[in-house]
Amino acid sequence: MKVTPLEAKRRVSTTANQSVFDARYWSNQMIAVAQRRDINGFMHIYDYFAPRLQRYLVGLGVNEALGQELVQEAMLRLWRRADLFDPTRASLSTWLFRIARNLYLDHVRSEPTWLPIQEGVAWMDEQEVCMSESMTESYTDQAKLKQAISELSPVQARLVRMSYFEAKSHSEIAQALGMPLGSVKSHLRRAFCKLQSSMRAMP
């Protein structure tokens, strides 16, 4: 399963379905980091994801300097906990999203209680993962999800982005857009159900 960065670059440029390839590609990089403590693989992940993590955190209202600190912290966590990465359970981007979101809640919203709760839920999740059948986040799922995201209605896309990229609560979204709270929730519900069914649909 060894993929050198050079080979990978070639394959990225030739593959038609890039998102399928990306998820598998990043998983392989991550496996190399976990198994061989591969510094090149790590830096490759770093170069791609660090600017995106930075952008995500700044979007949530984190200032640039703290954002940079948190990005370094997130990437160090990835390095230290690489052996916990399980590509059959989550893609690398999902894993990094969780790490960055938890750092944001912990350091920025100063909600010290949130993290242990979330870790508890994640722990329970791991206990059952081998028994479950439906939830592996496979590579093809990601391609379909990407497609489904691009097909959301404008209002659904906007509310999804406000949730994920601005961490706005339903009430805050309702207030910002002058939309009834019930409509905010029903738009988000429908958006999520569309995206979820795209991930779970049989090929």
């Binding site: 510094i39 830096m43 770093y46 791609y48 994801f49 660090a50 600017p51 995106r52 993590l53 952008r55 995500y56 370094q72 990437m75 390095w79 230290r80 906990r81 052996d83 916990l84 989550a90 893609s91 690398l92 981007s93 999902t94 990094l96 999203f97 969780r98 979101r101 938890n102 809640l105 919203r109 209680t113 949130w114 242990p116 709760i117 508890g120 839920v121 722990w123 329970m124 791991e126 479950s132 939830m135 986040e137 799922d141 990601q142 995201i149 999804v160 949730s163 994920y164 961490a167 609560s169 339903h170 009430s171 709270l181 019930g182 929730k185 029903s186 988000l188 519900r189 999520f192 979820q196």
Partner: protein, 220 residues
């Protein structure tokens, strides 16, 4: 315990995005801790977050300084020992509260220190939460709780006993995930007091909500 009433998908998205007010997140976590269906949805919602993260246009490559700084730390960073053991859920202990509530209310039902707010109605408020309101409610068996219309988000999970309202029968593990304009009149089932954990996201609304709920009971 297999719940029949689940978290609203919008609530799961909010939880995954780190966008839920803390009080609501605690009740959501309590339900997630006993509901596999909602945990699977949460995983999907986090996968959406991951893809959105990866799809962003990158503004720039990392600076040389940042790259050098992280490289320098790699050689010294120890590998974390495998995940520290999370306190196992005492799923079979009937006295145990769901783990996400321990920090606010302690680990067991038997150690709860209730305060009466009306005949047959007891309450404990979590004091540490500034983002929303979180409380335990204990309502005597066979009581009709007066109609109330919700404002803002309210998330309630039954821990013991049960109640019935227009939305159905709510047993331990079930959540009522409600937003504005919902009017209902829960009636607790006979025999056992109904204990719920409830959260609202609007600090000012809580008192009027509690007052509306409790006032008619005082007349009983």
């Amino acid at each position: 315990m297999t719940p029949r009433h689940h978290l609203d998908e919008a609530t799961i998205v909010g939880y995954a995005a780190g966008a839920l007010p803390t009080a609501l997140a605690v009740v959501a976590a309590a339900h997630l801790s006993i509901c596999r269906k909602c945990r699977e949805s949460l995983r999907d919602a986090e996968a959406i977050g991951g893809l959105l993260l990866a799809q962003q246009q990158a503004p720039a490559v990392p600076s040389t300084t940042a790259r050098e700084a992280i490289l320098a730390q790699l050689s010294t960073a120890q590998q974390d020992p495998s995940r520290k053991d999370y306190e196992p859920v005492r799923a079979n202990d009937p006295d145990a509260l769901p783990a996400p509530l321990h920090r606010y209310f302690g680990p067991t039902f038997s150690a709860l220190r209730w305060r009466m707010v009306a005949p047959g109605v007891h309450r404990i408020r979590a004091t540490q939460i500034t983002n929303g309101n979180l409380m335990l409610l204990r309502i005597g068996p066979g009581k009709s709780v007066p109609m109330h219309s919700h404002q803002g988000n309210e998330l309630t999970m039954v821990l013991r006993g049960s109640y019935v309202d227009a939305l159905g029968h709510f047993s331990p593990g079930d959540v009522a995930d409600l937003d504005c304009d919902i009017t209902h009149q829960p009636i607790t089932s006979p025999g056992l007091a109904c204990i719920c954990v409830a959260a609202t996201d609007a600090p000012l609304r809580f008192d009027s909500w509690a007052a509306r709920m409790v006032q008619p009971l005082i007349k009983l």
